[in-house]
Subunit: 209 residues, 2 copies
Amino acid sequence: MELHGYFRSSASYRVRIGLNLKGLEYDYYAVNLLKSEQKGDTYRKLNPQGLVPALVDGDTVLTQSLAILEWLDDRHPEPALLPRDSLQRARIRALSYTIACDIQPVQNLRILKYLQSEFAVDDEQKTGWVRQWIHEGFSALEQQLDPAPFAAGEEPGLFECCLIPQIYNAERFGMDIADYPAIHRIARACAEIPAFIEARPENQPDSTL
Amino acid sequence: MELHGYFRSSASYRVRIGLNLKGLEYDYYAVNLLKSEQKGDTYRKLNPQGLVPALVDGDTVLTQSLAILEWLDDRHPEPALLPRDSLQRARIRALSYTIACDIQPVQNLRILKYLQSEFAVDDEQKTGWVRQWIHEGFSALEQQLDPAPFAAGEEPGLFECCLIPQIYNAERFGMDIADYPAIHRIARACAEIPAFIEARPENQPDSTL
């Protein structure tokens, strides 16, 4: 499989964790967002939306990180990213979407660029914006996470694929994750797991370009 | 079942369509976003995130519209909201997330309020912002939709649950859906189906409050 992504992209990071948790091998192709390579003709042949990541498996091209993770779970069921019980699955999806639909989309690169270029938002205002949405989402998650090591119990899965990249963003904007004890606990547990360590932005080949 | 939502909320509208497509009965409880009822203690007991909708089924409370729709599809498989084939399912989820993760989150009420109060964005700028993200997403969708009547083929499903509320928002901001022929075709097909007609904002009891 080929993963086309960018080291700092949350959505790419989610898929790297998922592939690693499943123990699946893949070749990594860097798409430099700072050079707008995702908007170029070559990449748009993979994904007309011009957003990373894209996962190529033979003739198949998959886009949208959460759709890719669900597909990986369909095709390679063990270890599972989602619980078997449908109610538990709904709970884990809801927690994941709190990040993927309510936090991350409003603070990604294209949005921040627009705020700066069109609304003349300065760095301090930008940081305030990012922190506001992360804080709102993380505060809600704090009330919904059980004391088990991970959101679904004994093993990390879909939620942790979303959470760890979001924490990376939060820390880039100077937030202290210790303010969110349940999230902090999950972050510490994931920090010990090779699948998460190998997926980190700083461990990708394009981090040093 | 009880659906707690708001007539104009995209996420509530998605779930209304899904429940109607499944032929499931529900009681509708209006949560007035303009009065911030979603932030009140009563509603937050249902959903600590303070966002609509919430679906109550006996002792179970479900949140996040896409998690609710997936759960409905698990529990009430016919008619299906997602295709059986895992690759087709990934495709429909990716199209749905283009709306639910990349378009809708950046133009919902809490975001627009923040832009106005913190960045002094005026009405014209706000309209430009909303149209920009809808246009970017809809343009990508145009390239990915097949000529079948609906995204997955002969029947509407998860994607149409997301698309029709997004079109409602686009039209509120003065966009002409005829500019997007594939989307327009799906919109016209859905406009004939009772499940979609009954779910419309103007057909909800709180639309006249």
